[in-house]
């Protein structure tokens, strides 16, 4: 890939946050348990989104985008955390203090009839197979547990964080041969997810940002979106159930299919073997390669906006 020529990363306002001790890496404990996950600050800035050199038309044109500051999870969310949300009785069993009424009353996923680990294991392994609705409700649960607004990244936030100031196909350069140092792909783990955090992180401290599992974003997929998307914090809120944007590639993808700019989409085929109607709002029984990573905006939205984000009604699927 030819190196992009003009690119500037603007740290104008970000400098303020660097000085602010609140905008630092931190560990989020799940209250009352020993379960936790880490987040790193992603500074406010501008970057070039998309890739004019890509073989995929939907990544064009390259366009300048400004992104507000946020924290991002250093790792994909693992079953160790997700299962607390999945099963209230399990959460109760592992939590020392009583859980709040709000957490108690939250609508939980249907407990999957199938083994959603697909024999790949749970401990430190990414949680997989959840729908975008399930991923957002997981964030809702985190919010009720911690009081902190967590959500899925927008597609633009994801790409900005993955690139970490780079202009190349991968954050470390353009050589797919080196991807194995940073990612679990079809070349080094064709059958299964791997424990998170074993490979080298990107410059901003994000592990497994490529490969292992694909990661949910909040956006509807529109192949033409880049042609006139907003220049600041672009987002394409999802209104239709399919297709929605997923990023990062997985253990099922070859290195040529993975890059900072590659856009993947959700597929109704992943629910075809769900024997129930309506099909589950929570699970894709044939997407063992799909997971999530959370973000936290530095400046949270209003309580009304937070409420609206978490209470979007799921769309029936049949």
């Amino acid at each position: 890939m030819i190196k992009k020529t003009v690119f500037l990363l603007f740290f104008t306002l970000a400098a303020r946050y660097w000085e602010d001790s609140n905008f630092e890496p931190y560990t989020q404990q799940i209250p009352g348990t020993e379960v936790q996950f880490d987040l790193v600050p992603i500074p406010e800035g501008s970057f070039l989104m998309g890739s004019d050199e890509s073989p995929f038309e939907d990544e064009k044109p390259t366009h300048a985008v400004k992104i507000d500051a946020f924290w991002m999870g250093t790792h994909e969310i693992t079953w160790d955390i997700f299962e607390l949300f999945l099963d209230k009785n399990y959460e109760l069993a592992l939590t020392e203090e009583p859980i709040s009424e709000l957490v108690d009353g939250l609508t939980r996923p249907s407990i999957p009839y199938l083994d959603m680990t697909f024999g790949m294991g749970k401990e430190a392994k990414p949680a997989v197979g959840m729908t975008q609705y399930g991923a957002i409700q997981f964030c809702h649960w985190l919010y009720l547990k911690t009081g902190i607004f967590y959500r899925l990244p927008t597609e633009a936030e994801w790409e900005y964080a993955a690139k970490a100031g780079s202009e190349t196909q991968y954050f470390y350069g353009d050589d797919p041969e080196l991807l194995g140092e940073y990612a679990w792909t079809a070349e080094n783990s064709p059958e299964s997810t791997q424990k998170v955090g074993q490979k080298k992180p990107n410059p901003w401290g994000l592990y497994d940002i490529y490969g292992n599992v694909m990661e949910w974003t909040s956006d509807q997929y529109d192949p033409n979106f880049y042609q006139n998307s907003p220049k600041e914090n672009p987002a394409n809120p999802a209104e239709k159930l399919y297709p929605r944007v997923i990023r990062g590639g997985s253990f099922k993808h070859n290195s040529e299919e993975i890059s900072s700019t590659k856009r993947y989409v959700s597929d109704p085929k992943w629910k075809q073997i769900d024997p129930q109607i309506p099909k589950s709002q929570w699970w894709f029984p044939e997407a063992p390669f799909l997971g999530l990573r959370v973000v936290r905006p530095l400046i949270p939205p209003s309580p009304e906006e937070i409420q609206a984000y978490y209470t979007q009604a799921p769309i029936s699927d049949y």
Partner: protein
């Protein structure tokens, strides 16, 4: 009843009627052939699975109309109808008010309206629903398991014979029988690819299933019917409701049914008032007539390791199977004998309907799944009898068991036999004390 688990008997009763298409006296209903030009379908049990099965029937593309629905609860029927109408419209979903049947005897009326029936109520009702559908001469798709106790199994076995005599197609939703990795791999096992099967391990270990909380104003009967997974007269415990899939694979691979079961089980983590009487784990050995042993394990422990698959060891090699399209045969030196391609396999839930409806439309008699389904369900019940009682349970003892779990009377005011104590908890089996047969 005598144990007749010989290899020969098994083959006669396995999923596909062997020897190809049998000459069939079954003639398409006059209505189909002559005037209305469609087959009439009824669904009994309008939960997610019954509704899903209707979709799969309609997705076969054959001229089918849903004409009647039956459920114990009106709200379940209405919830089921909405997505059907949204997707297929009134042309294919022709269920006016007078063909919506609600209550404990709704099934009889709905079955009478149809040429083909889907039986998808909680498993405790399957024996009587199947008996009625066979009596009325219908083609049948029914879900697994097919009973929850030995009395139910005996009824299903009798109806299975009658269905054969009447040449009624019966497909049972043990969908691994319609899944390519199982078909291709087990065919090779039966052809001797790994020698004689001397042992195996079958698992359904995961976090459990849904719970429906008790609502104000519910009678005890309504509560149990809503939260049916946790009551044996309705569900049969998860060893029967769920693990039957894996146990059935052991029987298929062994081409026979075990002669005895012994094991242990209990309630380790799922012990609440909402959790009825069923165990949360069962661990068993099933011994077959030739002395080979299958280890069976099922548990509902959230947070613990999951495993849902089947492994077997033969004299010349080993077998690995799972619903995730695994089908792997390896010799004892580690050389591959067969590896099923996991990509682009047909959806087995659709495949079972594609094959059933193709036979029905052509007027062929091809499917007699009920007997094997009854015997695999019986295997799981024998396992439950062993873990509940703590005793070694033989096939003949188990199949002739006389303990009847079913309520004396089915009505919303009638009391089921299992009732909560003053503290709200239900009594459950205690190994060493509980009488099961």
């Amino acid at each position: 009843m005598k144990n007749q688990n010989t290899r020969r008997d098994f083959i006669k009763t396995s999923a596909l009627v062997t020897g190809g298409v049998l000459a069939s006296p079954f003639v398409l209903p006059g209505a189909y052939a002559a005037t209305e030009n469609h087959l009439k379908l009824a669904v009994i049990g309008c939960g997610g699975r019954g509704t899903g099965a209707v979709f799969q029937a309609l997705e076969t593309g054959h001229p089918i109309k849903l004409v009647a629905m039956a459920d114990a609860f009106r709200d379940r029927l209405d919830t089921s109808l909405k997505p059907m109408l949204d997707k297929y419209g009134t042309e294919k979903i022709d269920v006016p008010e007078e063909r919506k049947f609600v209550g404990f005897d709704a099934y009889k009326h709905a079955i009478a309206e149809a040429d083909v029936v889907i039986l998808a109520s909680p498993p405790g009702f399957r024996p009587s629903h199947f008996e009625e559908a066979v009596k009325q001469g219908k083609q049948i798709f029914m879900e697994k398991p097919v009973a929850t106790d030995a009395a139910g199994i005996r009824k299903v076995l009798a109806s299975a014979e009658e269905a054969k005599a009447k040449k009624l197609n019966v497909v049972v939703g043990l969908q691994r029988h319609y899944q390519n990795n199982y078909r291709e791999t087990i065919k090779r096992i039966h052809d001797g690819a790994v020698g004689d099967i001397v042992g195996g391990q079958v698992y359904w270990n995961d976090g459990g299933v849904w719970v429906r909380e008790r609502q104000p104003g519910q009678s005890e009967m309504e509560y149990q019917m809503r939260n049916w997974y946790y009551f044996n007269w309705l569900c049969g415990d998860h060893i029967t409701e769920q693990h039957v899939h894996n146990i059935d694979i052991a029987n298929w691979v062994k081409q026979s049914y075990p002669v005895k079961a012994e094991g242990t089980g209990g309630r380790a983590v799922r012990t609440g008032k909402d959790h009825g009487e069923i165990f949360d784990h069962h661990v068993l050995t099933f011994t077959y007539e030739d002395g080979s042993v299958i280890h069976s394990e099922c548990r509902h422990f959230p947070g613990a390791a999951n495993r849902v698959d089947e492994s077997f060891q033969g004299t010349k090699g080993k077998v690995y199977l799972s619903a995730g399209n695994h089908g792997v045969l390896t010799d004892w030196k580690g050389n591959s004998i067969y590896t099923h391609d996991r990509e682009n396999n047909p959806n087995p839930y659709q495949q079972e309907h594609d094959e059933l409806w193709a036979a029905i439309v052509k007027g062929e008699y091809k499917f007699a799944d009920a007997e094997n389904a009854a015997k695999s369900t019986m295997t799981s019940i024998m396992g439950r009898y062993a873990t509940y009682s703590g005793k070694v349970m033989t096939w003949d003892e188990a199949l002739n068991g006389t303990v009847d779990l079913f309520p004396e009377e089915l009505s919303w005011d009638a009391l089921p036999k299992i009732l909560p104590g003053d503290d709200g908890y239900y009594p459950h089996a205690v190994p060493g004390k509980t009488k099961v047969i």
